[in-house]
């Protein structure tokens, strides 16, 4: 009776210890892990300062918050979404791709196409060289070109 009672106590103690260790924190996330996420975010209060280099007390608290959330096993996407929900979309380093913001994502391809279009229009107005009158290709024109260039330069100076 006494023995089984002792065994029970032992099992309870061991069980508590096991349960205790299971609920203990995972190793504290390192500064580098925190910074890896913080550098993708901007400080909500300071202006245009990334969160990993912001020196204020508030930013220190936010980095600790990230550390705590990482320790709880939250993913990077979750943490970023948390910051957006609490502090607004401006903490992200790029505008979220919703609604009005699509405008800024369209601008680069449109600008590129506009550039291509301008080039096309310009080339169209240039008369094209006829095949027969094409000069001999080779290194000779290159050297002559050099010399001609220099001659032209001298002539222009004497204008």
């Amino acid at each position: 009776m006494k023995r089984s009672f002792l065994v029970l106590i032992l099992l309870l103690v061991l069980g508590a210890a096991w349960a205790g260790s299971a609920s203990a924190q995972q190793p504290t996330p390192s500064d580098d892990q925190v910074n890896a996420i913080a550098r993708q975010l901007f400080c909500p209060v300071c202006q245009n300062t990334p969160l990993d280099v912001c020196p204020t007390e508030a930013c220190h608290q936010w980095r600790e918050l990230i550390r705590q959330m990482l320790a709880e096993g939250k993913s990077e996407a979750y943490i970023k979404q948390y910051f957006v929900d609490n502090y607004g979309a401006r903490v992200l380093s790029e505008p979220p791709q919703v609604g009005f913001n699509w405008l800024i994502y369209i601008v680069p391809p449109v600008a590129f196409l506009a550039g291509v279009f301008l080039l096309y229009r310009a080339y169209r107005t240039w008369p094209r060289m006829q095949k027969e009158s094409a000069p001999e290709s080779g290194s000779a024109p290159a050297a002559k070109d050099e010399y001609v260039d220099r001659l032209e330069e001298e002539l222009r100076k004497r204008r």
């Binding site: 500064d31 008369p127 260039d149």
Partner: protein, 685 residues
């Protein structure tokens, strides 16, 4: 008393500038040479006048007249003399006056040149420079007066020029002092350089407007302003690099460019001014691209004003921006007026801006075509930067949403276009005027390409797999090899034909073609900077840890051991916390580094990184002041930045290259003065 004198002088200059504008317009419309000459003299007078104003302010700064609001804001008794002088541009009001001073210097300088051949341009150059100067003076006179005094009024302390009813003069015992972040040599020269760059671009713009108004749209205005534009570009580039150096050296985030809107505001004139420098060569040579050149120079000027507006008006939130102020609406009016006037003028003259001589056939791989392609690439980068800066404003105005357009967006988009420009730097020197085929370029290209390809091959062999890096480290060496090949080829051709030895031939070659070979040197400088940017952007590594003394951090083969920490007070009252670190690589001791954290008496902190620079890389250590510091747990952040030194070396090279390109040519025959020039009787040619 002196403040009143300074203010009075500025009022006078403002009136003189307005007179210059009026006289110029009147003289032009009535074809009265005397009035045009009067306008010229008025603009000539502005520089001595503004100088008097500036000297007054400098005297007030140096002698600690803290009853002047600006002097109070930017100086204090503990500041050394040289800092008090440079505090002239340390705050909004003073830097606006400084801007006006530089503008008047350039306006006066351009009025001093020989105008005999270009009398028609004179009135409009006076009008444009006068209008720009008058605008900036008006900001100083009516909104941001550097000579305003402190008054004690019923509602508190007020800064104003004149005494209002019931106000008594207030004389503070000491000043607030210049922000410690600004007391760095880079930060001292950076604003003057930038402003010089901005102001210099006003001159080519004024000639362009003169050309548009008078209809004299041949390349005369370009020849006149060719060197002005080159110097403008040099100053602007130096200003940008100094800003990068300061950010790297002082701000402690291990980088040099944050894609902050104010940084981009200074970059935008550079992005359109640089293609302008190239395409004007085409107009000189072949009379093409007249319209493009007009568009580019107008854009450059507008971006100068717009950039100044963004930085100062408080419209943008930025770490760099000045405090908010009432000058926003004035800028808005001036920008609106400038844009509407320039575009109207351009559209009016559009037909007349056709090419002079019938276009010879020009193929798609000719030098002209490649220059146009380069201009388009710059244009796209410019549009991307501009929209990135403006979009947050649009988001707030239209949908009331605050968003950030940050570095990732910019870097991913402009990267490929800069790569394209790198490629063009390699290909274009091999192209020739008018005609080009792939075969022709290929024939010239294979010789420099072979040594260039060694680099990516070596990288591949040593295990590099990053595609962007491989592409970048192929294009960059290619551009350098082509450029060096051009030097060699030209020198060899000359040596052969002139019978000189190679060294003399090279010297004379560069001497006779300063613009081209100076330009090639600048290209090499740009490639050096591109290499640095590739290195730091693609291969930077960083780590942060808290150490107790004796512990070490490892990063990229370096071991950094934390030896000790000291705290002491410096002579100017700041408390310095300084760590001693020993750096080892592969067991070998390389030296000691001293990262610091300064706390100024007014509470301003400054983190000063310790940097060990070599050609290959930088080791950059920051004492992290924003976590808790104690001897047991001192937080450090270490960066390894490959190739960063090439950024600073490259800037030295482009300074040299610009000097070569801009060096005045010796006239072989002195040009005799022709008949005395009155308006409307310029000599033929």
């Amino acid at each position: 008393m002196l403040a009143d004198f300074g203010f009075g002088v500025l009022v006078l200059t403002f009136l003189v500038a307005l007179f210059g504008i009026a006289a110029g317009i009147y003289g032009y419309s009535k074809k009265e040479g005397r009035w045009v000459e009067s306008a010229r003299r008025a603009m000539l007078l502005t520089f001595p006048l503004v100088t008097l104003g500036v000297l007054s302010l400098v005297f007030l700064l140096v002698s600690g007249h803290y009853e002047i609001k600006y002097v109070y804001e930017v100086t204090s008794s503990t500041m050394p003399l040289y800092l008090k002088v440079t505090a002239l541009w340390g705050g909004q009001a003073g830097s606006l006056l400084f801007w006006s001073w530089l503008m008047s210097a350039f306006a006066s300088a351009v009025m001093l040149r020989q105008w005999d051949r270009d009398r028609e341009f004179l009135p409009w150059v006076a009008v444009v420079t006068g209008a720009t100067l008058a605008f900036f003076l008006s900001l100083s006179l009516f909104f941001e007066n550097p000579f305003a005094r402190w008054w004690q009024t019923a509602s508190g302390e007020v800064g104003a020029m004149f005494q209002s009813a019931g106000a008594t003069p207030l004389v503070p015992p000491d000043g607030a002092g210049l922000n410690p972040l600004l007391r760095h040599p880079g930060m001292i020269i950076h604003p003057p350089m930038l402003y010089l760059g901005f102001v210099s671009f006003v001159i080519p713009f004024s000639f362009a407007i003169a050309a548009l108004v008078t209809g004299r749209t041949d390349d005369r205005w370009i020849r006149i302003t060719r060197r002005w534009a080159l110097w403008a570009w040099l100053f602007l580039s130096c200003g940008l690099v100094l800003g990068m150096w300061w950010a790297y050296d002082v701000l402690g985030w291990g980088g040099y460019w944050g894609w902050d809107p104010v940084e981009i505001a200074a970059l935008m004139p550079w992005l359109v001014g640089l293609p302008f420098l190239h395409t004007v060569m085409i107009q000189e040579k072949r009379g093409m691209f007249k319209r493009l050149n007009m568009v580019l120079i107008i854009l450059t000027y507008v971006m100068v004003i717009f950039g100044t507006f963004l930085t100062r008006s408080g419209v943008l939130s930025s770490v760099h921006a000045f405090a908010e102020s009432a000058i926003g609406p004035m800028f808005f009016i001036f920008i609106g007026f400038t844009l509407i006037a320039s575009i109207s003028l351009l559209i009016h003259r559009w037909e007349g801006l056709k090419s002079e001589v019938p276009l010879e056939s020009t193929s798609l791989l000719s030098r002209e075509a490649l220059f146009l392609l380069a201009a388009v690439l710059f244009g796209v980068i410019f549009i991307v930067c501009f929209s990135g800066v403006v979009f947050p404003l649009a988001s707030e105005a239209v949908v009331n949403q605050q968003i950030t357009v940050g570095p990732p967006w910019y870097k991913h988009i402009v990267g490929p276009f800069f790569a394209g420009l790198l490629l063009l730097m390699g290909v274009t020197p091999l192209s020739s005027w008018t005609y080009g085929t792939l075969k022709m370029i290929g024939r010239s290209a294979w010789k420099p390409a072979v040594p260039a390809l060694v680099v990516p091959v070596v990288l591949l062999v040593t295990g590099m797999r990053d595609v962007v890096a491989l592409v970048g480290f192929t294009l960059a060496p290619f551009a350098v090899c082509v450029t060096l090949y051009e030097f060699g080829r030209g020198a060899a051709a000359r040596a052969r034909s002139q019978g000189e030895n190679l060294v003399v031939a090279l010297w004379r070659l560069v001497g006779r073609n300063r613009r081209r070979y100076g330009g090639y040197i600048i290209h090499i400088a740009m490639v050096m900077m591109a290499l640095a940017i590739l290195g730091i952007e693609l291969f930077q590594t960083t780590t942060q840890r808290s150490l107790a003394t004796g512990e070490s951090i490892q990063l990229n083969g370096y071991t950094i051991r934390y030896d000790s920490l000291a705290q002491f007070t410096y002579t100017d009252g700041r408390m310095v916390t300084r760590a001693v670190m020993s750096v080892f690589k592969d067991g070998k001791f390389l030296g000691e580094l001293y990262p610091r954290y300064d706390l100024f008496p007014d509470g301003q902190p400054m983190t000063i990184p310790a940097i060990r620079s070599t050609l290959a890389d930088d080791l950059y250590i920051v004492l992290v002041n924003w976590e808790n510091i104690s001897v047991l747990q001192t937080p450090f952040k270490v960066f390894h930045n490959p190739l960063v030194s090439w950024l600073w070396l490259g800037s030295l090279v482009f300074i040299f290259g610009t000097l070569v390109a801009a060096w005045p040519d010796k006239d072989p025959v002195a040009v005799p003065a022709t008949m005395k020039a009155g308006y409307g009787t310029s000599p033929a040619n």
